[in-house]
Amino acid sequence: CLNETGLKIQKIIFEKQWFYLDNAIGHVYGTTFEVTSGGNLQPKQEVEETSTEAKEAGTDNRNIVDDGKSQKLTHDDIKALKDKGIKGQEIVQQLIENSTTFRDKTEFAQDKYIKKKKKKYEAVITIVKPSTRILSTMYYAREPGKINHLRYDTLAQMLTLGNVHAGTKMIVMETCAGLVLGAVMERMGGYGSIVQMYPGGGPVRAATSCFGFPREFFDNLHEFPLSRVQSLLGGTFSAEPEEMPLLEEESNGLSEEKQQETEEEPAEISPAEEQDTMDISAEELNCLFCCSKVRDKQIKQWERRKKLKEAAALLGEKNADGLIVASKFHPTPLLLSLLEFVAPSRPFVVYCQYKEPLLDCYTKLRERGGVINLKLSESWLRNYQVLPDRSHPKLSMSGGGGYLLSGITVLLEQGRAGCGTSEPPKLEEPSSKRCKLQDLPC
């Protein structure tokens, strides 16, 4: 049931449509609305998809000539209808009546025609509950650049290969607008802890905020800057700011802004955000609040430092239950350092849009040791049209959804870790022939 008070008075602009969500509050998820003039939502009455009146249909397309003249209504005519406030449903009906070829089309083609026109002229929206399924398919369809072209089925593989589940301690390093983080959070259901490693000034969670997670889910979400990983591993890490606090603040602000560019949201609802910025600028105008502002800043900084210490402590235990990487960076340096924080006998999985960096990563991990069952893979996804006697794969499919390298950590031999004497890595793993087991206990 939709009950976010934050939805109020939000004007949503989506695919040349605009509307207010006020009327949606109180309706169940999955409700379909019609957008009326004035941008108000009105629950749509269920109309029988295929009207029972016998439709006239052709048997094949021998009489169809595509001369671009089959539609007698012009653009101007249609615009005039719209301006008069004629409902989308009626416009589609008029289009059908004014189509000279409609009656000659086969029944199947007629359905297709109606569907296409309906989509174009009927302002209908359905409000669905956000989930990894919905958000990952939406991002892949609409904003693939923001998620490094990570296809949803590839994300699905990552969650399984990483054995992401409630009660674990996961390390997530992603530059996918927070989508991968959100997917991991959903699978953990608020149980366990997550450390998000981030480049630049702060973690990006634009997509994460679209999942509608309860507040408690964020209690066990920590973040740690990538730029401090080496110092943490080297034992020189300190949560105290390295430079003058003001300077750090400034540089943080800058890089944060830069990130914002690539992090903008596709017509998503982020309540309260605008409210926030309003408050701040109002505050800035008012000198009376200046002192409290400085104090606020100090408190914020102190809190940030405390959270940083907590994240560092979590990582420092070096017992994470898994590592999930999906970023625009070269995976090799990320894996070589972040794997140090993972306990033995735990899965890790790294996504890359390209295959070649993963080939390198594979080779370097083999040299490093401490990992087994390395697997480089890709998934293919094919959608089907299923109709009696007319089933076949859909005409087009995604050409690629990115690549995954996955594996399992094992205890690193003493002396092997970190020391430069690279004895030739004990060749691969024992031969791959399955042996005869007399005492197979299962």
Binding site: V28, G189, D321, I372, L376, L381, P393, Q438, P441
Partner: protein, 308 residues
Amino acid sequence: MSFVEYGDTIKDGDTAIVFLGHESMFPVKVQHGTVTQTKYGVIRHSTDLIGKKYGSKVTCSKGGWVFILHPTPELWTMNLPHRTQILYSTDISIITMMLELKPGSIVCESGTGSGSLSHALIRTVAPTGHLYTVEFHQKRAEKAREEFREHGVEHLVTVTNQDVCKSGFGVSNIADAVFLDIPSPWEAIGHAKSALKAEGGRICSFSPCIEQVQRTCLAMEEYGFTEINTLEILLRVYNVRTISLQIPDLGKAAEDNSSTGFDSSNPSHQGSPCANLQQGTVQFKSGVPLREVVGHTGYLTFATKNLV
């Protein structure tokens, strides 16, 4: 150890995975006083396993070594004793995501088969969700119950021994999702619908044949399911190999002794340590597809039940 909770050390009664090498592994029930034979010799559970850390290298009696791994549903899927055809992790992944499963979800499944999917479902819905799985083959139902007990997940699953097409899932209006992997799923769509919550939920059916899919889609439509969508997912695995290719000798231009046009016109391998033009070869890393792969497992049909 349990399949839904990691542990650090190997304990008596655990199910552990003995890893011999790439793709070669098997599960073992850890038991005081027991020994397990491998091609590298004997593993003594009391001394070699119990108390050791998961992920340890264990040296067998003949000097070869193996790794002992903590079980996961994925490792189990790769190693479980087959009593039926099973679902593999690639299909399982997309099923889990498209059914929107997460901790707390209530799921109905039929048939249980060898429990490959069941283990993965249980992992995802734990600790607050539940799996109701229906299997009409009595031995298989019993064996599944036994495995769930051994794997520490029995509190998260109910195995029912009945015909799902006749008697349904034994529950109604409580499921967030239903999954079918039976020969005639269309006969169970009605039961699936009544197992799902009144406010709706998701359904998935797995079938190897397109004829099955057609009948299932019709049944789904008949029962008012929406968003009906059929797809197929395939895994492509690549072997990482270092390949060297010979450079063809195209001879030399009369006055030009700076060798063939190949290296001078191709800046990408200038200075690359892999290029060895003296020997006339270029080395590179490649991801090589396997010679033969699984080309089809089954079609997955997903749909949504809406509140009516």
